[in-house]
Symmetry: C2
Subunit: 310 residues, 2 copies
């Protein structure tokens, strides 16, 4: 299969290596010139769990420069960069590739729909993870899985073929029953842990130790539940709360600072508009007010502005 | 006049000095033992605008130790310490002194009413200010004024006598037309500037430079306006917004960190429950939801907990 990975950060590179090693023809697409140059000149270095380095030779290219025909485009940008990326790679979208995103946040389907017919879109969630110490270098730990579903299952061309390709590469992909519910569930968790840990500059365990964490949590998730219901998506505030409470101990994620906290610390824009901000906006459209999520999104934007992040 | 000043911090001491210098018999009441001891042993040192020190001899005493009869009790504790203070000085409240508070925050009248008949209570706002570098030592700058009103004007014994006493001491006191409106106005300003500057760890000018300060501001003040209306208090979100916008320039208060920010920095409990928290609570009672103010109060409490402030 000819596969383009649009957004070749830590995760995009990890997927790219696995898919190419399984016999696919992979092109990595990324905006970071030093990263693209390093991959093309020295290859991509992958440091594995045991500390050993492995070098893989893949083709990397800037978004505006990509050409050719692809069977599958995997979008691995952050939610807020997705629209620009799709615009930049519009030259390869005309030949009806399948377009898959596993990005965090709600509203990604709406972004992709502006560039690609709904019938070609597949969305999912993943627990694979990866880090990037520098250009041309990723660090991978553990294994993961993918849960995915076509946006219009009856119209998507070859879903079982897609699953076969992903699983031949060892990506542990399976079909989701209700992928939108899974996306909202993950977004609900992130809209509590990412947002509050960023706002309070604390880790997940410290958030869980707050005397009023349940009040803070419920104010967000009760609005999520109401907006999800109006939008026809299954969402249980209680289920997500249970999932959140399971992250607090040092044995799970207690010592961890969520990705939004890391974005803020490294002066990168956050995904807040695709988490609390999305629910506030959708709530306003559906006349289900979500004032807590609205003010939290504004507070994170204020913190971005104070840090000079635009 | 025999005057007790309950809560002899920077402001209480400044008022005490002025009132005693005008011929009143003043007793300072405070919980801080080192401060009480310093005043009794070395006198109270007042550093004035021009940098000179002046020593005044006043009587200071711990709340549980105060006895005697007073014509006037001026409460200068923070809102959240007022209830305990009134309990501790209950021995001097039996002889029907007038009780005056100029403390920030809404709900102070309700606190005082639990200890003193409504007919004896006077409330107001002030723009006098003062700082305290250490025990037995205050630093005063500029001048100020007081605007005050009896809670039940028709029942208060001698309001003009009270005004005369305050003005003989140079405190620039005048009768307010609608003291509750003035208290809500000041609380509205503080519920925006104090709360957000504390939450974001920024000064007033930095808050004013945020691209979304109006959105953050309006979310708080529109709820204030709705709750005030239900409570029968005059409140204009637009008026308070104008007052807030006038604080942003370096020439006014732009470089200033509000008192709540200083409380948090010095590990002291904040007044949040008498600002945003009060409006959230009153809104819930009056069935006028104030979710923005509710979550802001919870966020400040979370920050207090993270700093080990209980």
């Amino acid at each position: 299969m000819k596969i383009a990975i649009a957004g070749a950060g830590a995760m995009g590179c990890r997927f790219g290596v696995k898919l190419q090693s399984a016999g696919n023809q992979v092109t990595l697409i990324d905006n970071w010139a030093a990263h693209v140059a390093a991959i093309n000149q020295q290859g991509l270095t992958v440091t594995t769990d045991d500390g050993t380095d492995h070098v893989y030779h893949l083709t990397a290219v800037a978004p505006q420069a990509v050409t050719g025909e692809f069977d599958l485009v995997i979008l691995f940008t952050k939610a807020m960069q997705m629209d620009q990326m799709l615009q930049d790679i519009s030259g390869i979208l005309g030949n009806h590739p399948a377009v898959l995103t596993l990005a965090n946040g709600i509203g990604n389907v709406e972004t992709i729909e502006r560039h690609v017919p709904k019938s070609q879109i597949v969305v999912g969630t993943t627990v694979w993870s990866s880090g990037m110490p520098g250009p041309g270098h990723i660090k991978v730990t553990g294994t993961g899985s993918i849960s995915l579903q076509a946006v219009v299952p009856t119209e998507f061309a070859d879903f079982s073929g897609l699953l076969t390709t992903l699983n031949a590469a060892g990506l542990n992909a399976s079909q989701a029953d209700n992928v939108m519910a899974a996306i909202w569930k993950k977004a609900g968790l992130n809209s509590v842990l990412n947002t509050y840990c960023t706002l309070f500059d604390c880790n997940i365990g410290e958030f869980g130790a707050l005397p009023n964490w349940r009040t803070l949590n419920d104010a967000v998730l009760n609005e999520f539940e109401a907006v999800a219901q109006a939008a026809g998506v299954a969402f249980s505030a209680q289920d997500v709360t249970d999932l959140i409470a399971a992250q607090f101990s040092p044995e799970t994620n207690g010592g961890h600072y969520p990705s939004m906290h890391q974005d803020m610390a490294h002066q990168r824009p956050t995904e807040i508009d695709f988490l609390n901000g999305y629910v506030a906006k959708l709530g306003a459209q559906l006349q289900v007010p979500a004032p807590t999520n609205a003010i939290l999104a504004q507070e994170i934007h204020a913190q971005e502005a104070l840090k000079g992040i635009s």
